[in-house]
Symmetry: D3
Subunit: 186 residues, 6 copies
């Protein structure tokens, strides 16, 4: 039994998830079609209530949990883990390893993430995510649409749009935008 | 749907889980019999490979995940969240709130935790855990038994004993004890 | 006596006070006309000798102390408190509460501050400051005028202009501006 | 006017003030009989709700403010400043200097404080406090008496005993003691 | 012998050395022609693998060591010291003093560095570096040339160009540039 | 040339060096007889002026530099690097790697260090130091002898005894001991 456990292959994805969108969800599904278990690292966990990071780590966990669950993904095979930043990038991989269960492959289309991983531990695989339209499905774009009062809910899982609605997330994002453009916050 | 979501009652338990033991597991079951969802806060997440905190946050998440799963608990109703310490106790509750999904009740028999919560937010309930034999089921005692080479596996869920076995946790705990009693670590 | 003490109403204002100006002073007077005691939180206390934050927390305390005193405000009813930043905004209010005496109302025209407070503790009141010309009376504008060698002393209390003169603050601000526009500081 | 200001002599005392006691108050009076102004540095400002540091920085400020005021000390000549710790002692004096208004003399009977100051800035004077019974008038002793339910109020200014009573400080101190002696806090 | 040791005059230079260039090397030679010993402070030691700070502190130490050695400088008279940043500038000099051997003179053409030193310790001398073409010999310019695929190796000591070549530094700098201009790093 | 450089084998030793003693020096010689270059990591670099860590990182660098130099060791093959602590042990090796030039083998008789290294990077070798009398040659013992006024200078290199004498290190150590045994430092 425990031997079998050891042979589980875990894939990891990392993001700030401000908020989780359909691109993220597609990647989660891809990982679970290739691996036994999925680890979702919620980065910049210490930040919230700023324009770039409007949601708390806890809110982001909640949205991810709901999105995965509603998509029919079995949460017994998932780990959702908030991780505060580490300013020393050269120890980033070792830090991530200490904060999440053991993993074997990182899914990232980002050259930077790939570089850090290869530089720090050659045994961790890096896999390319399948195509998603990154110009559309990225948090910066979605927060921008929210700020401008344009349609955005089709870019995120339904459970996430509901969650944002419940916590009055649209108001929050628009308030943070207005506030950051003031000459002095206090 | 979202209204219904909002009415979910979540219970939170907090520990260092070095390692998770049967007392913890009993409390998790108690919470899920009273609440819709369970949040497990893994405290002191930044510490590992010291005598008091031998396991990494990621290892502890893994053990908790396996223990809950093997006990037949539905992980769709659970959040397991590593949280680094905050040295300013007076903002502790606000910090925890930022790091986990919204919760309504904290289960703790600890007078200190109860005090901090009541002092900081009167709307959070505090519930007493049902009886567990704390002298037996506590991490300090279990690590002590491991150090002395005495039986300990009956005090933790089977999945946890297997996990510790797989990662050679007994060797690690004994090594850390020897090392901390040396006149100088380096 | 102590019962009476308990009924004291305290109003809080927060700023970086780089430097304190007539708009701040007007707000301090407004607060003391509404409340029994005034708390002045000096934010970003750890920063100094940078363009945005030229003065140390101690210098800013000194300027505020002198400005209040010279304005005839009774310092027995005032607390001036330097507070370093907290990067986790969701625990900001709890942090402020731990660093200053108990308060009942925060005076801020800033939507962001109001939002954080209402989100974190519904029992704290937020009051709107009476009109001051924010375009004129703000630290960024005053430091800009100093940098350009234009008149600025009429925007701050006389005691502050004297203080800045004594510590050669104009030279410091102009030096920091020149230095920050260099291609590399060192 | 500003020249005169510059010639003000300020004396500084430092403590954790858990709580402020009659020895502290006697020293404050001594300083104000020698100097024009008094600076009270409230050290370990980030700690609270632990056995050694039961009160928040804000509560300690409040107690000191009340004690000085009730003793007839003119608060226009006083600065009360909470300062978080700095783990690098060799920059301690420079750190303190950045957090408080300029000062000329430190009052401390502590050889360690004297050593750090002389090592770091020969221009700062160090003065010996006049006799106070340190075995009696020290925070450790007072918290110990509180823990044991013995008389302690005669060791602190009346305003402080009232303050501690209002915030239920005796209960807090006794709770923290019980809690720290438990095998595991959570 | 120890008396003689005490009379050693040490000169200090500070930089981020991303990478060390011929301007730095010329300054090192100038210092060693005026002083007995040289201290090279490698600032921002905690940063690496970002566009502005591509190399680790260890890599920078290695480049500096090799550059000095190949230039015929006697390393028995040199200290190369990585130092993480301190956000409180007012204690900067005291911090630097705690991290390096005692020094007597700082070589810097930077008005800001000169200002901080004079403000914090009048006994430390500040010396002007002899002319070097700063527009050409500065790290920002060199990283820019590398990014654009233009010639840059003539601006750094030969040992440094070799070192960067060995660690594939050109690829790293270009990758970091591409990565930082993406809409979202992860 | 650069190929040759790449083939350099570097050995690393780590300590707090409070102060460097003859056991350390013997190990440095052992490393340089096995490897091309030596890296000396000065741990706990942020601590000083406490009983356990009386000397600053800069003073420790100076002592090590002098001890190696006076022992006839060629400093062109040595790196002495102060490194502040990292509380997360699981990323300790990655952190050290980022702070020092590339190394191949760590010399340590400490089971804990060996464990951390093997756990984190199997490519780093760990070598056992040759015999030194650890009961005699360790910093705790030497500081204890200094505190008791007993002979200690024979346990450290002559250059170190001189250095400690020059900076009045004996007085400092004895003062710190007296100070730490007081009921309250301030």
């Amino acid at each position: 039994m425990s031997d079998q456990k050891n042979r589980l292959r875990r894939g990891l994805m990392i993001g700030r998830f401000q908020p989780i969108h359909n691109g993220h969800l597609a990647l989660a599904k891809q990982i679970l079609s290739d691996c036994d278990e999925l680890i979702v690292v919620v980065g910049s966990a210490q930040f919230n209530f700023i324009e770039k990071d409007p949601f708390t780590a806890g809110e982001r966990m909640g949205m991810i949990h709901n999105a995965l669950s509603r998509a029919g993904i079995d949460l017994r095979h998932c780990y959702i883990v908030p991780v505060p930043n580490d300013e020393n990038n050269a120890r980033w991989l070792a830090y991530i390893k200490s904060m999440v269960p053991r993993f074997h492959v990182v899914y990232s289309g980002n050259e930077y993430v790939r570089h850090l991983i290869l530089d720090q531990d050659a045994k961790i695989e890096v896999q390319e995510p399948k195509f998603v339209d990154q110009a559309k499905y990225n948090g910066t774009n979605i927060r921008q649409l929210i700020n401008e009062g344009k349609p955005w809910a089709h870019l995120v899982p339904e459970a996430v749009a509901e969650f944002i609605d419940q916590i009055k997330g649209v108001d929050r994002i628009q308030m943070l935008r207005r506030s950051d453009s003031m000459p002095h916050k206090w």
